[in-house]
Symmetry: C2
Subunit: 494 residues, 2 copies
């Protein structure tokens, strides 16, 4: 027991002499995914133990605003009350576009088909949503409104192919963060089930597998003791992502190295993903992450233009901040700026999260161009073209929606959004273990690993790239995928 | 034996009742990596068997031109004869930039430090290189010249940070393809060694591992029999990449789905990578691939400009074709064009590999813009700015080198380079098993998997992304990493 146990080296069943604990299902991690997995597994009649590293439930869900992306099927109660009829097909089309070439169609189909029912399940848990719509463009809803647009739904090209509907459901809670309240509700529900036990301050070390990599349990460490836990039906890994593991981020998701602010909890060390890999599970989409530049509020910044050091625009500026951030990172330039008018700059200093500094001002485009040391004529010709079209309410180049179009007249202000130098860049990982929609973990050639399940950020979920992420997809996926994994494990016939 | 053996499910040592064969080292695959691994292992005194799926040696190396990227240490014989002194530090700086955030510094350092010695090792094998320099810009050297620039060495920003030197070494051979001759030489050398045996038409099914995932051999199929091969020192996976496995490409490298022409041999099904994953090895950089648009020859196309459907340029057009191709794929546009003058178009039809069609012509930029249905003023303002600077021999936006700069005057021609619609796009994978510079395979938390080695495309080598690839890095890495793995396995103390 003195040598460090590696999560990628499973303990073999043949080496286990004593089972110190037995249960039907062992769940690793008590965030949104683990909590919801436990509830469904318990309600299907299974005996469940949750092992949580921290001294309380919460995980990354409790650190988030706990917005939940839901809709379809004619609309949730909140959507309908706010006047939005949302169809499952529109939601499906939107999410498929959002996932792009990485889409897992079966998983997205399942998510959309059951999204309204998931909303109702959350209501039954006691999660409160107010039937009110938040009009203003926001990164997080700072009011108690229950519904808002949280992604690219109204932006080109998404709006052309899927009828927009707001699907970000925001908890009815005082203050700005729904996460703690959401996890309090989940935890209270867990505590009501006599067939769920929670063990805090326990670290999962490695899986217990037989020689064919079938899973029989997990080794945990508690009070400096290694404890062999037999899980008769299976182990569900809900241990979060790997954003706090710098080596793994560097090796798997180097584009996130531009980020300045990892979003996650200290347990997001990738241990669940590593345990899966140790028994031959495939980790997929590991290079992808959410990385963004939160350029609104104030929403007036959206009326400005984003340009690179060639004075070129990159994207319609009315997209979600992660899509815009990704466009900056994909652009092979050394500097990037948001060019806004003094009016658009408006409340920037008091309201903005972005942290970008003013690096230039000018009465005219030519003056600003010179101050920013851009090649002569670059910003000038971009603005000339932009203004000519904007005066007619058009943006034939990038298709920013008409409501955000107005000619940019001096005096002009340039904000520095250069990665690593200007703005603040939050990031988190989006890769994880490959799972079937049920939460069953598979190998790279799609063989099941019997007894192993994953959910939340430990799995690769419906959310697969910054270009298509909408706020609410993380907690939406964590809670829903947790439920499915809990059900599947409880119903396993072994 | 009726159930299909999955490569991700190792055969356990405890299940092996008979060893049908025994050797020190089993090598899976007889391409450039496998052949060189065998030579070094044999020369270090080990008994070696190579198992090759096909009925002859060759692999993807034989399908390539077998250019080899080498230099440093004052220059190879060919570099020096052609008047280029190449320093190891310049080569290292270049390769580090080429690999970008994915760089494995230890591996690149090792490659550069030993590159000139690798050249000499190849000479000893009998690989011939002519001491002549090929001046013309080329995708592959269609002459018998021994040396050419094969990447981004002379293009911005590489040229600013590392003194350019040509490092693509081209075999002295009649006809256009050095690959078959290269593999013939390697094979003849293999056949000379009495301690190497080659078994053709054998398929490696899965690794033989003990319960701690230590590797003891490999199960192969030959003449419909499953044969257990004990490898006392280790197994070296040189089984190629996964470009021919459509499911794996879709799941791991979706950006390659834009490619039209997979570059590889039928054995590139990812089986070596899958076998590694089955024993807990990490597969890294799996999302990355080489994907390119071969827009030269004629080199005169380099004098044109690449624009998107906003009329914007994307990159200095004097970069290597994979870097330019990657810029197109990373740009969020629906159409892309090469705009050239009639003079630059020149010999395009007879010389070009790209397959792009002429989709517009115009006496002026405005005429061409209209014909391409670009928003009015877009291409016009881009060309106006480009020409103004080009007349002074400058490109302050993208820094194309002066030799390629000239104002583009009508009549103008537009070639369609839209992915999936216009040009031809070759591609191959660049991800694989994570290895130490020695070729030893490791898990995601950098634990050794004793007895397992990988080289060539089965490993993740020095070449990590299209943006920085130079021709010759594949065969360079395959042959050099094969040698290291062969040596390491032969010297293993077990």
């Amino acid at each position: 027991m003195s040598a460090k146990t590696s999560p990628t080296q499973p303990r073999r069943l043949s080496e286990i002499t004593d089972w110190h604990r037995e249960t039907d299902i062992a769940i690793i991690g008590f965030g949104g995914a683990g909590g919801c997995a436990a509830l469904e597994a318990a309600d299907a009649g299974a005996e469940v133990v949750i092992f949580e590293l921290a001294s309380a439930s919460g995980g990354s869900t409790a650190l988030s605003s706990a917005e939940i992306y839901m809709g379809g099927n004619g609309g949730t109660r909140v959507q309908r009350a706010c006047g939005f009829e949302d169809s499952t097909e529109d939601m499906f089309s939107y999410m498929m576009m959002a996932a792009g070439p990485q889409a897992d169609e079966a998983k997205i189909r399942n998510y959309c088909d059951n999204s309204k029912a998931h909303f109702e399940w959350l209501l039954e848990l006691g999660v409160p949503f107010k039937d009110s719509f938040h009009e203003t463009r926001a990164i997080m809803c700072l009011t108690d409104d229950g519904l808002l647009y949280t992604g690219n739904e109204k932006a080109y090209p998404f709006s052309e192919q899927a009828k927009p509907a707001p699907r970000g459901h925001n908890l009815y809670v005082e203050g700005d963060n729904g996460g703690p309240m959401f996890m309090k509700i989940v935890t209270e529900n867990v505590e009501k089930r006599s067939n769920i036990r929670v063990e805090y301050e326990t670290r999962a070390l490695t899986l217990i597998a037989d020689e064919h990599n079938q899973i029989h349990g997990v080794v945990i460490r508690k009070d400096r003791q290694e404890i062999n836990v037999r899980a008769r039906k299976g182990v569900i890994l809900c241990a979060g992502g790997f954003v706090m593991n710098q080596e793994m981020v560097a090796r798997y998701a180097p584009k996130l190295s531009f980020g300045t602010e990892p979003i996650g909890n200290p347990g997001d060390t990738g241990s669940g993903i590593l345990m899966g890999m140790g028994v031959g599970a495939a980790a997929i989409n590991m290079h992808e992450g959410f990385i963004s530049v939160p350029y609104y509020p104030p929403e007036s910044i959206t009326r400005g233009i984003l340009v690179n050091d060639k004075g070129q625009r990159l994207i319609n500026e009315d997209v979600y901040h992660a899509r815009l951030g990704n466009a900056i990172l994909s652009d092979n330039s050394e500097r990037h700026f948001f060019i806004v008018t003094v009016d658009q700059y408006g409340d920037y200093e008091s309201m903005n999260f972005m942290g970008a500094q003013v690096v230039g001002t000018g009465e005219t485009a030519a003056e600003l161009e010179e101050e920013l040391q851009l090649p002569r004529g670059t910003l000038e010709s971009t603005l000339e073209l932009y203004n000519r079209y904007a005066a007619d309410g058009q943006d034939p180049l990038f298709h920013k929606a008409e409501q955000w179009l107005e000619p940019l007249e001096g005096p002009l202000v340039a904000l520095d959004v250069t990665p690593g130098r200007g703005a603040f860049w939050p990031y988190f990982t989006l890769g994880g273990l490959d799972t079937l929609p049920t939460g069953e973990v598979v190998t790279a050639d799609q063989q099941l690993i019997p007894g192993l399940y994953a959910a939340g950020r430990t799995a690769c979920g419906v959310v697969r790239r910054a270009e298509g992420y909408s706020s609410g997809m993380s907690v939406g996926d964590a809670t829903y995928s947790g439920r499915l994994a809990g059900k599947a494990a409880a119903n396993r016939d072994n």
